[in-house]
């Protein structure tokens, strides 16, 4: 498996180098957002600049300024916002379970962090700041400094590659047998 080590903000060249099935580690700023933060961003715009950003579907467990556990949440719940989030310049969405691939074509990637691995992810993250804290711990928009966050799998690339779609097709074929 081809391995990439990237630093945020991501450039279009970074994005284009990634192919479905590659392994990625990310360093630099990342932002979390899930259900409520997405709804608020739709209503009022993003409180942080998202050009070249990595957006993490994650509701972390935080104590004071310590990140204790911070694995991915199910991205599918946020699927309705993908188009407008990518239009704000986000170049990578991280999460688990995947998103429909079409909006990523030519502009962004979806990175799958192993689900349930919150303790390991927390070791790779440091808290920088928090926005929308009134939404509560799980729903706030947290800004982290990532240090080799991964391993993540490029599950949807910007060239039409989509591991989830490939797996779904293969499952349908096996069911038909």
């Amino acid at each position: 498996m081809t391995e990439h080590r990237l630093r945020t903000p991501l450039s279009m060249e970074d994005v284009k180098r990634l192919r479905a099935g590659d392994v990625v580690f990310i360093s630099g700023h990342i932002y979390t957002a899930r259900d409520k933060a997405h709804a608020l961003m739709r209503a009022r715009g993003s409180p942080v600049p998202l050009e070249g950003a990595v957006l993490y579907h994650c509701g972390p467990l935080i104590r004071g300024d310590e990140v204790l556990s911070a694995g991915p949440t199910t991205s599918g719940r946020m699927a309705r916002y993908t188009e407008e989030i990518l239009r704000l310049g986000v170049r990578a969405i991280m999460g688990k379970g995947g998103l429909p691939g079409e909006p990523f074509l030519g502009r962004a990637v979806y990175l799958a962090y192993p689900g349930g691995c919150g303790a390991a992810a927390a070791q790779q993250l440091r808290l920088r700041s928090v926005r929308l804290q009134e939404l509560g711990m799980a729903e706030a928009l947290w800004e982290f400094e990532a240090e080799n966050l991964g391993p993540m799998i490029v599950a949807v690339d910007s060239h039409g590659g989509d591991l989830y779609r490939d797996v779904r097709r293969s499952v349908q074929n096996r069911l038909a047998l």
Binding site: S69, T74, G115, G116, G118, A138, I153, V167, S170
Partner: protein, 268 residues
């Protein structure tokens, strides 16, 4: 005795949230050995690494510390002079503060978070009466990713429940944090089937011919860890059944993620 129950609840929660039962670790280790798909292997190995790290550091292994479900086995000769549900809730509040746990419990229409993982009906307490005078508490933290994929099907008695189960897993497993544990409720009524499916998760893994056949068929689907492909889609299947109406065939699937967390405390 109330204070003993509260403290036992906190101990059980700490253990359940920061480590996996040995048999679950062994199942994942065996799967990591068997897997030939590189993406699947990487996932299984990282899941093991994560669980070992969580245990060593005393950190919740998943940030989704779950809604809390308790199985209480109470001896028929034990009389309690306090409200057991209230004592368990107090244990949950302390554990939320001390471990800590992420506050996950919200009022369903306003989405207001209670901040302490308790509220009307939560924690969910499933009570059983057993022989003797002891009290056995088992906690199952249940994450939303897997719970959200669960469902009850009211089948036509002419339908094949095995086929329904395999097709439902094929459609829903990817978002439930596979490799899965699957609790199946077969028969009963609409709500009893769901409760049987939840209780099936209490006595994993199943070893009957039907349970092993289902496990094999699910793993032949190729969904793999986190839906990214591979031969490890489920690690255990358990069926609990009850009689049903001659005109009904309820089948419930309660999905559980690879991190099948639980811990037990016995109070005498």
């Amino acid at each position: 005795m109330r204070e003993e129950v509260v403290e036992a609840t906190v101990r059980a929660l700490r253990k359940a949230e920061t480590s996996l039962p040995d048999w679950v670790m062994k199942q994942i280790e065996a799967a990591a050995e068997r897997e030939t798909n590189p993406v699947a292997r990487l996932h299984l190995q990282f899941m093991l690494e994560n669980a070992r790290l969580a245990e060593a550091e005393g950190l919740p292994l998943c940030q989704d510390t779950g809604l809390l479900i308790f199985r209480v086995e109470q001896g028929r000769d034990l009389r309690l002079d306090f409200d057991l549900g209230e004592a368990l809730a107090e244990g949950v509040r302390r554990a939320t503060r001390d471990i800590p746990l992420r506050p996950n419990a919200v009022e369903p229409s306003t989405r207001r978070n209670s901040g302490d993982n308790t509220g009307p009906g939560i924690p969910d307490i499933i009570r059983e009466t057993v022989e003797g005078d002891g009290l056995r508490l088992t906690v199952f933290p249940k994450g939303a990713g897997s719970e959200n994929m669960s469902l009850v099907g009211m089948l036509n008695p002419a339908d094949d429940p095995i086929d329904f189960i395999v097709r439902t897993v094929a459609e829903r497993a990817a978002n439930a944090c596979p490799p899965l544990f699957l609790g199946i409720g077969l028969g009963g009524t609409f709500d009893l089937a769901a409760r049987l499916a939840k209780r099936a998760l209490f006595s994993l893994p199943g070893t009957s011919e039907t349970e092993l056949m289902l496990l094999k068929r699910i793993n032949a689907l190729g969904i793999g860890p986190m839906g990214l492909g591979g031969e490890t889609t489920a690690l255990g299947v358990r069926i609990e059944s009850a009689f049903c109406h001659t005109a009904s065939l309820p089948v419930a699937l309660n999905f559980q993620c690879w991190a099948h967390r639980s811990a037990t405390e016995v109070i005498r």
